[in-house]
Symmetry: C2
């Protein structure tokens, strides 16, 4: 691709990212909005916690400095280091708000090419410096913070200076993309070619291709190609033991998939620096509908029937009554199924009609809102989407009111799903009551559905015990982990393992694979500098 | 599932399997048919080579015997050992016909449960006995034979006594199936539940679930879910370092996929003894068509357009003019695209019409042969299917006439595909001419297609040099390997690596993954007894 064909990148430079909370500072709820949010949850604080300041963190000098040849790649700026200290889980936000001490990285590095990544890894290995690969920093599982004390110093390896689309193969609809590209910059570079990756996680604006790949992120599609994994054609990985690139192939049966070992490795085995990604044409046809169900269990049956058809809706999200009310999709206590079809080949509406027939056969009430066009701005589909993108900001607003507000997600087979959802409502509700003395709001939606099961996503909101919010959440989370394990539901469908999910992950992982992963870690990262504590000890 | 619900298994016991050639002995072409086949290829023998006899192999006593507790699991019967000595590549068949010496396993074991597999592995590890996991024995890449001399003895581990469907979850449409089930027995046990795995490789009758999983077999579907990998819900694996079972999950983002490490491991890391597999409803609607193209390159464009749509045909096989003529699908020099749609949700014909429109826009001539029913018995679709299943028997008939007849397959991206196909015709044709002095017939079809590329499958047929057929094929294959490497086309799309594809595989595999695989091998198979020489040294 000629340089001239490359679109200028909108890096969102005109807006300020929050170092302690979600997204852009100018999108944060102000004090009055926080107070209004808090009024919805009995027992929260009377006024919001103040916005934390980097100056209060007393960030010291770095414990180590790289040799002169690498010095220009790193910064010891306190603002940068604070912004790289944690991810964006509720647990991270409330720790920042409460001024709780935690390990701030000594340095932030911003390499611009593979050689600089390799040089930094070599130096870190020699000096025993922990290296934490960092994309957009939107981890909600403790994936980008350092815990422990086995390393001399901590380096946050920020990949966002490597954010270009380097090549496009229009015949095969694929592009070679640097791992540090944030969602908007990535899509902006593809748009002039009428192509799109169409991977739109909730964190789209604040997460990178490399982060999506390293954590097996879940994206736009509710069926069929739900994870970023399916769109990977080849990966380039820099490990302390050497670099390698898998071949660009549409499919291969040559041994175990090399890419699948690095997808989900969460920065523990190597640093993904670029990938050839499979792209889509932009959809020309869209059709959507929302279907109301008086009975949540009949709604589950309807979704299962649709998931087991070959209709493959792009959107197939079932909101339970609480979730539907919260997002404005219903006001009468109904569960709501949001259905969306899209296509570049002009057959969306026929599938929507078939899906609606299936939903009605299970007691659903609804009809197509659109055919061959975008969803109307005032419809429940868009109401839900707007709420979806606004949610993390509202969570932070509630956190400032001392509330405990967090989500967790999982996946299990259809035979186990109803009992799992019921158990979450009962047992997590009881745990929240025990920890806070307050009734928690617990909502559920299905975000992704499969022929053999579904991925439920839960939201828990309850007033915390002032000052003990972290402990309250940790108590609740321990109940969640145990519950998921007993129900054989995965510890994570698309939020990754990080450090927070280690207890559940260790129980879930088959022992032969654990042996293989440890052996691989020793071979590729012999000094154990890469993201210590994630996936493995 | 109650025992009474389990259907009796048709193990095909009434027919005799060939120890040296494909399939059932009663389906082999007789001498007159072989001669008629040979007459099609100038330069072949005047009369067929005799059918080889086990008695002529001079099979000796085993070099080792297991302890009494395991003795009932093994046999030293020469017929059984001969039938487990090799796979069913052309190279294997011609070596049997030419009476070439090769290593016959000392023993064949037929364990009936996981504990017996573990016990056999433990004994073999202690005694330095090589263990070659064996399903249906249909490997065409040297995947089930022993080469080398580093082991005291060789044990063929035949899994076909473990062939039951153990559990069915109808809500999630999944079943727990033992790895030794051959295709027909597996489907027979699912049929009473109106479910099907719908994995129909050419070797369906003579290959097992475990073999499909260990080699990442390609199956029925030409698009979307082309490999067995996509239907795996969980795996049970017995390794020399211990056993493990992954959780039954519709999807998970918890670390790198544990199953994907064992899918494609070809018996080198452990023995897959059972799997939960995702099943399909039996399709109620089918629609098919064949489309003729005067121009092969326009046909490629048509197929690419269909592959990049969201129509997802179950069958989308493009036959070049030679392949179309051979299978009776065309007689006028046209390339033929065989299209098939199937569905349990009643929308096949709409998609077929759209696909035909796309094909016609690229110069295709054709119309739907059927809508909502099976393909007519006399149509080109069925002509091609019959020829497909008969092909390996004909290959063996030609081998008896001293011909060199073999296939190879690969996959590459669309941008590289036309040049690859052209290079195969030119360079492999030249190599065959050089090796034999005869013009080779080289045909091509696309077996599986993807949005970003396709899997071409080539057939080479040429009269060999009598007595030197193995060397002729090895010379041709070396040219193929080099060519695929230069064109960055995978060494195998669905035939696996085995021992025959090692040179190409070693070049293709990224070095960090090679390090990981070696480390994993050392951890899981510390005595290096499992399928030595496959994937790794």
């Amino acid at each position: 691709m000629p340089e001239s064909a490359i679109h200028p990148i909108d890096r969102g430079a005109s807006r300020t990212r929050s170092w302690w909370g979600w997204g852009y500072t100018d999108a944060h709820p102000d004090d009055a909005e926080c107070a209004a949010l808090g009024a919805l949850l009995p027992g929260t604080l009377a006024r919001p916690l103040p916005i934390p300041r980097v100056a209060d963190l007393a960030i010291g000098r770095p414990g180590v400095m790289p040799p002169p040849a690498l010095a220009h790649l790193v910064t010891e700026d306190p603002e940068a280091r604070a912004a790289h200290a944690m991810g964006k889980a509720y647990r991270d936000v409330i720790r920042a708000l409460r001024g709780r001490p935690r390990r701030i990285p000594d340095l932030v590095a911003r390499p611009t090419d593979d050689q600089e990544v390799a040089d930094l890894l070599e130096w870190a290995g020699e000096r025993g410096v922990a290296v934490i690969p960092f994309g957009g920093g939107s981890s909600v599982v403790g994936g980008v913070e350092y815990r422990g004390d086995a390393h001399q110093a901590v380096l946050s390896l920020d990949l966002t200076s490597m954010d270009r689309v380097l090549e496009i193969d229009t015949a095969s609809r694929a592009a070679r993309i640097q791992a540090g590209a944030l969602g908007p910059a990535l899509e902006a570079q593809l748009r002039p070619h009428d192509l799109t990756l169409r991977h739109f996680p909730q964190s789209f604006e604040f997460s990178t291709l490399g982060g999506w790949l390293a954590t097996r992120a879940g994206g736009h599609y509710a069926t069929l190609h739900t994870h970023i994994d399916d769109f990977v054609q080849s990966l380039r990985v820099i490990t302390p033991a050497g670099a390698g690139t898998s071949w660009r192939l549409p499919a291969s049966g040559a041994g175990p998939s090399p890419d699948r070992l690095f997808l989900g490795s969460e920065g523990t085995l190597g640093v993904i620096t670029e990938a050839w990604m499979r792209l889509q044409e932009r959809p020309r046809y869209k059709a959507s509908a929302s279907v109301a169900f008086a009975d949540f269990h009949r709604a589950l049956d309807a979704v299962r029937t649709i998931a087991q058809s070959d209709l493959f809706p792009a959107n197939c999200r079932l909101l339970d009554p609480g979730e539907a009310a919260l997002s404005g999709a219903s006001h009468d206590g109904s569960a709501v199924l949001v259905l969306g079809f899209e296509s570049a080949t002009a057959r969306g509406d026929g599938r929507l009609a078939t899906a609606l027939d299936l939903a009605r056969a299970h007691g659903g009430r609804g009809e197509a809102r659109t055919a061959h066009g975008d969803a109307p701005a005032d419809g429940p589909v868009n109401a839900w989407r707007s709420a979806f993108l606004r949610m993390p900001y509202l969570r932070d607003g509630l956190a400032r009111m001392g509330a405990v507000v967090e989500t967790f997600e999982t996946a299990t087979t259809w035979d186990r799903l109803p009992a799992l959802i019921e158990a979450v409502r009962t047992e997590v509700g009881a745990a929240a009551l025990k920890a806070t003395g307050q009734e928690a709001a617990i909502n559920c939606r299905l975000t992704h559905v499969y022929p053999d099961g579904a991925a439920p996503y839960f939201t828990v909101a309850v007033a915390g015990r002032p000052g003990d919010e972290v402990e309250v959440w940790d108590d609740i989370k321990a109940v969640v982990t145990d519950l998921l394990h007993r129900h054989h539901a995965t510890v994570t469908h698309h939020h990754a393992v990080g450090r927070d999910h280690r207890p559940g992950y260790d129980l879930q992982r088959p022992e032969p694979f654990a042996l293989a992963l440890r052996a691989t870690k020793d071979a590729l990262d012999p000094h154990h500098i890469l993201n210590p504590g994630v996936l493995l000890d």
